[in-house]
């Protein structure tokens, strides 16, 4: 088949990890669409949006906030097709290794690590909720660092480089599950209210038939099927559900109020 489906994803985890996670899903999509699927992992959020906006990729795994950015950069043409059941009620976790930090208010004067600046769960939504709690990171924290990725934030906090940090709940749970974090030392002291996060988005001018095929392929994934179960497991999804642009209006508002969108 000549036709190629070009796919990428925001680097909320290590690009190598993304590539590994995507491999079985890619095969599955190849079978479902009859197209060759090429996945390119990148290390910069903006590059994904930029290549979606210039039609250099067809399908992308985006965060809630990245989707809003993509929507704006494509003049509203980008279409979110599916998301994981978990993404409808996504949360971020504030973590620390400092026993004196018990609530958000204790963060005043501490050093703090976000993930990447354009991460929804590692930067935007925590910022929004911090703001609602009356904290302005740039003014109230001693130092703000951007670790660049969620697992890096945990490493920062565990090594004592930052006194507290914030990351997405899903990655935190994974790390705890895989025992990659010492929960005696690093603990969660606050969690944000739920919001809509990640989704799979296609560029607006993709053939509608193909869009339909892709959407169906995702929705067809069934935890009962062992092959599908592996794919879902790697995507850390119970199952995929349809999603729509309106779901992300809340995030867009939060981004405006946190000053991340102009």
């Amino acid at each position: 088949a000549d036709a190629v489906l070009r796919v990428s994803a925001i680097p909320d985890e290590a690009p190598t990890e993304l590539q590994r996670k995507f491999a079985p899903l890619g095969k599955y999509l190849e079978a479902q669409t009859g197209m060759k699927v090429v996945f390119t992992p990148v290390s910069d959020y903006a590059a994904v949006v930029e290549s979606l906006a210039t039609k250099k990729i067809d399908l992308a795994w985006l965060g809630g906030f990245t989707f809003v950015q993509a929507k704006i950069r494509t003049n509203g043409t980008a279409i979110p097709i599916v998301q994981r059941a978990e993404d409808a009620v996504f949360t971020s976790r504030f973590i620390t290794a400092d026993p004196t930090i018990k609530a958000l208010a204790d963060l005043k004067g501490k050093t703090f690590a976000f993930g990447a600046p354009s991460s929804t769960s590692g930067s935007l939504m925590p910022r929004f909720f911090l703001q609602q709690a009356g904290l302005n990171p740039e003014k109230d924290f001693k130092n703000v660092a951007f670790s660049g990725a969620h697992d890096a934030t945990v490493a920062f906090v565990a090594a004592g480089k930052a006194e507290a940090g914030v990351l997405n709940a899903s990655v935190w749970d994974k790390l705890v599950e895989q025992k990659k974090v010492d929960t005696d030392k690093v603990r969660v002291f606050a969690t944000t209210p739920p919001y809509f996060d990640y989704n799979w988005t296609v560029r607006g001018d993709l053939d509608p038939a193909l869009v339909k095929k892709l959407t169906d392929a995702f929705l067809k994934l069934d935890p009962a099927n062992p092959e599908h179960k592996e794919i879902l497991g790697l995507q850390r999804a119970a199952k995929f559900i349809p999603t729509k642009k309106e779901n992300y209006e809340g995030i867009e508002k939060a981004a405006h109020s946190a000053g991340l969108l102009k």
């Binding site: 990148v42 906006a53 250099k56 130092n143 920062f156 102009k262």
Partner: protein, 519 residues
């Protein structure tokens, strides 16, 4: 005869004193702003943390899967670096020729062509990468082009300054006999500068190997990106393996550079052709390596010259206009400039001092080993270590810059000194002067312009050093830019870029001006 009149006072003394005072007045607040506290380095609890962290590097990761990945990344990196540098070279030769004052009869600061070069290398690689991704999509082409443009600007500038720093008399003599400027440079200056030009080019190739982080932005992978991740995740074992690979490559590059310098220094045989079998084979291997790299990366630049590309690029550039000049934002950028200056000045000064000390000893082996090692470890890794050592903040950033830059400047200094006229220093040693003093009195005056050029140039680079400063929470323009670019706040980003460019142009012009005054 006069009755021994009182010795005249040194007419230069007043200027020197006021210069020294001025430097103090400027440097003092900068050191304060960088939170310069070397004591924190030797804090025992900090040392323990670092020890713990470094212990995590052992043993290096040796899993077959990882090694296979590492091997592929290494090949990719070599190909990317070779292709990128070839592109940079093609750009640098004509641009460097335009920008250099070498071989010109009217000394000039070339504000126009120098600023053009500053813009080429001053626009952050990330911006170039985002621009070219719009044309080429994700993959090596965008990255190689971004690398080629920025490195082209850097090479051109350094070529220009190397040519300016050698003895101009031979070129002038040729011009007075009617030779055109290009030929005067080739016949009069190239023989003097060839060693340094060659070794700087190899050094840039070595940088391109390390700089492949930018390639990760656009999905071209490579070692830099691998290192970036390993460090961010604090995965010591992987980091150690990658570091070892880096060191291997840096030592190899150093070896190539040394070989080239020796080859250029060997008197040719007493026959008409100056070439031996070694130079012939080198001249054959080089183009094949470049062609192979482009081929392997499947790069074609045809797409760049289509109407669609022009439109897409135009759209991207238009997004940056007009820059945000609101007073709020200007104040933030102003603060960023101040922070950046503090960190970069402290980092560069520390590096210049230690680099010079390490460049001096005659017996090179242990010192080049140390310098190579310092240089092999990317800034980001140093930042992780220094952040552990002295805590997040500007001082950690300055230290990280200082450590890596020492490795760079030490090497560049050593080669510039090696290339400086040897006779004056040698004559002083013959008269019994200790090595250090004969260096200061004999060699330094000849090498000073080149040393200053390298130092100011590294300072300019450090001003742009974005990644690590954000990483250690040190703020500065770099972090500001990265943040705003991620958020597609292009108007704000463009203000930051302009601020960076102005700083860079100022540094560049200072460099040119200082060198002209020293002439």
């Amino acid at each position: 005869m006069l009755l021994n009149p009182a010795p005249p006072r040194d007419p230069a003394a007043r200027g020197r004193l006021s210069g020294a005072l001025l430097a103090l007045v400027i440097l003092w607040p900068l050191f304060r702003a960088a939170e310069f506290k070397p004591g924190a380095l030797f804090d025992s609890s900090n040392l323990k943390v670092i020890g713990h962290f470094l212990a995590g590097f052992l043993p290096p990761e040796r899993g077959a899967e990882f090694l296979a990945y590492l091997g592929k990344a290494t090949l990719e990196t070599l190909a990317i670096a070779t292709a990128g540098l070839a592109l940079a070279f093609v750009l640098a030769v004509p641009l460097g020729y335009l920008a250099t004052a070498a071989g010109r009869e009217q000394p000039t600061l070339n504000p126009l062509s120098r600023s053009l070069l500053t813009i080429l290398r001053g626009i952050p690689e990330l911006v170039w990468a985002l621009l070219f991704v719009r044309v080429f999509g994700l993959g090596p082409a965008a990255g190689v082009l971004a690398l080629g443009l920025t490195y082209g600007g850097m090479l051109a500038k350094v070529y220009a300054e190397i040519l300016e720093s050698v003895d101009p008399a031979p070129a002038h003599a040729l011009r007075h006999n009617g030779a055109g400027r290009p030929l005067a440079i080739l016949y009069g200056l190239l023989p003097q500068a060839s060693k340094e030009l060659a070794s700087y080019t190899v050094y840039r190739w070595e940088c391109a190997i390390r700089a492949s982080v930018v390639m990760g932005f656009v999905g071209a992978g490579g070692l830099g990106q691998l290192m970036d991740q390993a460090m961010k995740m604090l995965n010591g074992g992987e980091a150690a393996s990658i570091l070892l690979t880096f060191m291997l490559l840096v030592f190899a590059a150093d070896g190539i550079s040394g070989w080239l310098r020796r080859a250029l220094d060997t008197p040719p045989a007493a026959r008409a052709s100056p070439f031996g079998w070694r130079s012939i084979s080198f001249l054959l291997v080089l183009p094949s390596a470049i062609i192979a790299s482009f081929h392997w990366l499947e790069i074609g630049f045809g797409e760049l010259f289509t109407a669609g590309a022009a439109h897409s690029i135009g759209e991207f550039v238009a997004g940056f206009l007009p820059p945000d000049l609101s007073s709020d934002w200007l104040a933030r950028v102003g603060l960023g400039i101040w922070e950046t200056l503090a960190i970069s000045v402290v980092g560069t000064l520390l590096a210049a001092a230690s680099g010079l000390l390490l460049a001096l000893p005659k017996w090179r082996a242990p010192f080049s080993f140390l310098l190579n090692t310092l240089r092999s470890v990317p800034e980001l890794v140093w930042a992780t270590i220094t952040a552990l050592a002295v805590g997040l903040g500007p001082f950690a950033g300055a230290l990280a810059l200082a450590l890596h830059t020492t490795g760079v400047l030490g090497r560049l200094y050593a080669e510039a000194l090696d290339n400086a006229p040897a006779a004056p220093g040698h004559a002083l040693r013959l008269a019994g002067a200790p090595t250090g003093l004969s260096f200061l009195y004999g060699t330094l005056p000849g090498a000073a312009p080149q040393l200053i050029a390298y130092t100011l140039y590294r300072w300019e680079m450090n001003i742009r050093m974005a990644a690590i400063l954000g990483f250690v929470g040190a703020g500065g323009l770099g972090q500001l830019l990265y943040f705003e670019l991620s958020l597609f706040h292009h108007a704000q980003a463009s203000t930051v870029i302009i601020a960076m460019l102005i700083l860079s142009i100022a540094v560049d012009q200072t460099s040119a001006w200082l060198r002209q005054r020293l002439r």
